[in-house]
Assembly symmetry: C2
Homo-oligomer: 515 residues x 2
């Protein structure tokens, strides 16, 4: 899907020179020429008008104009002497609670010419977003949280433009996608009711603003589009993900899952979309595990265990000495341990199976993946009994959420044609391993598709293709949201999912066959 009609256009105008018979104002002259080109009369700010008498006569009425697709149609954003080519850039931003990713987009070619990612500075106030919401409610907490993001925007804009020999004023359009809470922090909206029943955001649909209104330094005429939310637990990042997947355009049914602390799920096709979000727990991301860590150098990202001789083979990011386990390795590891008979279906470590790797650390039994001699850090990398229990709760919650959504629309997992995995480590999950532990449904492996940074890609799409905003609105209006927190069927079905892979093995024929 490559739809290209960007939010900015440059238009060269050879205007008729003023005469006594054609003494229209500068503004009328340029407006009517643009109207001819655009099919609609553009909006002109007072600042743009003020500059016209300095440019039009000097340029001999041959000018290069830059127009932006604003909230109410085209706007004239810049006028310069023809020949001095205007090259507008856009900035697409994935405002993640952990990481922000900035994409610099050439709005003429449509290409992403630079990408940088930055740790969210708000993490000092809490890894968990709920802690940040509480922080926002104290004193001037919200102002601090907003300022941290705005400052990061400004420094990142400086960095990403300077890296390409550009200036911040070369950026004319910003698109941003984030979850509902992050968007509230970003725009200075009180997030406190998001986490209190009945979970009310201040804003779901943000009318477009000027970046300067919130202190972002780019071109003064620039615009900022923030992807709307569906609700407190279903944000613009997911709408951007749907946009990226294209699932809303096809007849076949797709499912999109954003794997993280919250499992966010969308099921549907071009006619209907059902969404749901529920807490899956941070275990899947490694957040709360004894040796969990982010995907950074030294993190084990892949693990296999030979089911016969129990040999462990792992791979670390950057080929460094192992420091911990990142999300993809955790799923790999639990699947391998289950297949190798190192844990039983309830998640209990079977100590007799490998007495050398089963050790007691801090008063509880663990399975050691890399010993002290391999880590060189005085402590081994392992998965503990309570880690496994946490993992099973998280994967069980994830599977149950998927099941409930599928059942609610009266279909089965087998009816799903494409299964998109988004999220921080979505691209790195091995679907077969996730099936083995009963986290993802047992459907043909080729139906799983990693979306990468779906939110960021959606934000880029909204720069490259100006009708995307309307389409996002259509998606938003089409979505039926299931409130998982208040559903009885979630709790009743969860129990069966708290096993490896499930109490009902007929749901996982490929796993049954392998065992």
């Amino acid at each position: 899907m490559d739809r290209f009609d960007p939010v900015a256009r440059t238009i060269t105008l050879d205007l008729p020179k003023p005469t006594l018979d054609d003494n229209r104002s500068h503004e009328s002259r340029i407006r009517s020429a643009l109207k001819d080109s655009l099919g609609q009369s553009p909006w002109l700010s007072l600042d743009i008008c003020r500059g016209l008498p300095d440019i039009l006569p000097i340029s001999g009425y041959k000018v290069e104009t830059l127009v932006l697709d604003g909230p109410f149609g085209w706007e004239l954003a810049q006028v310069s002497t023809a020949g001095r080519s205007l090259r507008p850039y856009g900035l697409a931003v994935d405002i993640g609670s952990t990481t922000l990713v900035f994409y610099l987009v050439d709005l003429i070619s449509g290409k992403v010419i630079s990408t940088i990612s930055k740790t969210n500075p708000q993490r000092v106030h809490g890894e968990d977003i709920l802690e940040r919401i509480l922080f926002a409610g104290r004193n001037n907490g919200l102002e601090i949280l907003q300022t941290e993001l705005i400052d990061l925007f400004n420094s990142s804009i400086q960095e990403i433009t300077a890296g390409k020999g550009l200036r911040p004023e070369d950026i004319f359009f910003i698109t941003a996608a984030g979850n509902t809470t992050m968007c509230h922090f970003f725009l200075g909206l009180d997030p406190v009711y998001i986490c209190r029943e009945p979970y009310i955001p201040v804003v779901n649909s943000f009318d477009m603003i000027r970046p300067k209104e919130i202190g972002i330094d780019v071109h003064p005429q620039a615009l900022l589009y923030c992807f709307p939310n569906v609700g407190s637990y279903f944000g613009g990042d997911l709408l951007a993900g749907i946009l990226t997947s294209g699932m809303h355009l096809r007849e076949e049914i797709s499912m999109l899952v954003d794997v993280g602390t919250n499992a966010e799920v969308i099921l549907g096709n071009r006619d209907w979309l059902v969404a749901c979000a529920g807490a899956a727990g941070p275990a899947l991301e490694g957040g709360i595990l004894s040796c969990g860590m982010r995907a950074q150098p030294g993190a084990i990202e892949r693990v296999t265990i030979d089911r016969n001789n129990l040999t462990v083979v792992y791979h670390t990011i950057g080929n460094k000495a192992p420091k911990g386990l990142c999300g993809s390795a955790i799923i790999d590891l639990l699947a391998a341990m289950f297949v190798a008979g190192l844990v039983d279906p309830t998640g209990k470590l079977l100590r007799d199976r490998d007495r050398s790797r089963m050790q007691q650390i801090g008063g509880e039994w663990v399975y050691v993946v890399a010993g002290i001699e391999e880590t060189g850090a005085g402590k081994p990398v392992y998965l503990s009994q309570s880690d496994i229990k946490n993992l099973i709760r998280s994967k069980g919650a994830m599977y149950t959420i998927l099941s409930v959504v599928v059942q609610n629309v009266g279909i089965g997992f087998e009816d799903i044609d494409s299964f998109y995995i988004a999220g921080a480590f979505g691209n790195y999950i091995d679907p077969q391993k996730a099936i083995t532990i009963g986290m993802l449904p047992d459907i043909p492996i080729e139906r799983f598709k990693g979306l990468g940074n779906a939110a960021g890609k959606g934000a880029v799409e909204a720069l490259r293709w100006r009708k995307a905003r309307e389409e996002v609105e259509e998606i938003r209006n089409k979505i039926t949201y299931l409130e998982m927190n208040v559903r009885g069927d979630f709790m009743s079905q969860l129990t069966g999912a708290l096993f490896l892979p499930h109490t009902d093995l007929s749901r996982f024929p490929s796993v049954a066959k392998m065992m």
Copy 2:
């Protein structure tokens, strides 16, 4: 014509309270309720959104909202707890080069509740607007001119609101009408090309702005509409005048004349409008005459001369001792002198007719209206020979402009059903006297209608009736503009008009009959 549908509305909303089954955002909740009421989704600024969590829950979701008819549809401008009634006000301003008139309008009742007028502070840089254009071109002249107007706006807003127990923040909408140059000063647009061939304004059609953009302190969400211009010499004040007259809505043909230094003329009906402006000279306003003055206390405003015994009777404003002649009196006086045989058709003073009042002052012959004993100021009030020559040139130019316009559309003056007179002293002109000197065409006297401050009235109309802006645009698009400065027929016809009333007496049958 009373069309009432103001640019602001208050709407009381009893919103459904949030529940788990209806956990829309505050923004969505209020937006959809307003959409139901307005028939369109309103625009919400970030500032308005920020305030919602402070108001909605506390008010029990019963709120009073204020919406404004903005450039792209309705905008939400304020939300408060129901019961605390919102009363929005508007400010209509006639930005005259001599005087600014401010009208405070209650946008719920539509009534003008206060009016104040202020001398244009720019007069220190030149009575004549051309001098101010030159001033604008020097150093930071434009900035000074703009600041003077903005400061006057702010102090007048303080004064007019305080006088009614209100605050500037109670003003949500400003409409302003002025001539093209004044609008350029007001908005900080370079006026220099307005007075140079081919007479190009920077802007004809101003997109709506926020008053705060130019430093006007009213409600932060307020809007400012500036009437558009047709060209350098045909400004928004005249479009406001047409709007006030209603001539653009009727089948019958009307003519509208704004009498001043420039004679601005519109001829037409609901199907067509022809406009023209030409220099008539400042003599008609008294501007350059020996004893000319503004309509202030002590100004003679009416004069009659008994054609038999030559007794002079006059009336001064405020019944003060006479200090000078204002515009209406000047026309009265010349007409009376002509009828009484004190000047001949060429404008020459006939000294023998009244040797007591004909005197020599400063080396030239004058006709004394009020002697030193009456003025008590050591100098008489009089009309000099050169004053009369100036007056005849001005009235001749005025008549010629009217004639050329009428001829250009192929009609005669007798086809004009209503003849509107606008301008500073338009209301005070005695049409019969103006006919007598050959300044206005000789049509039945009841067809003449004074419009008063047509620009100010039009600006008030644009507050009271939100569709006025579209109608102004229709008027503007309908107008055909005749460039009088480049017309040969003007010069060729002027000669005949430089007599009292005209070389061709058949054009003035009522005058011929009277003589």
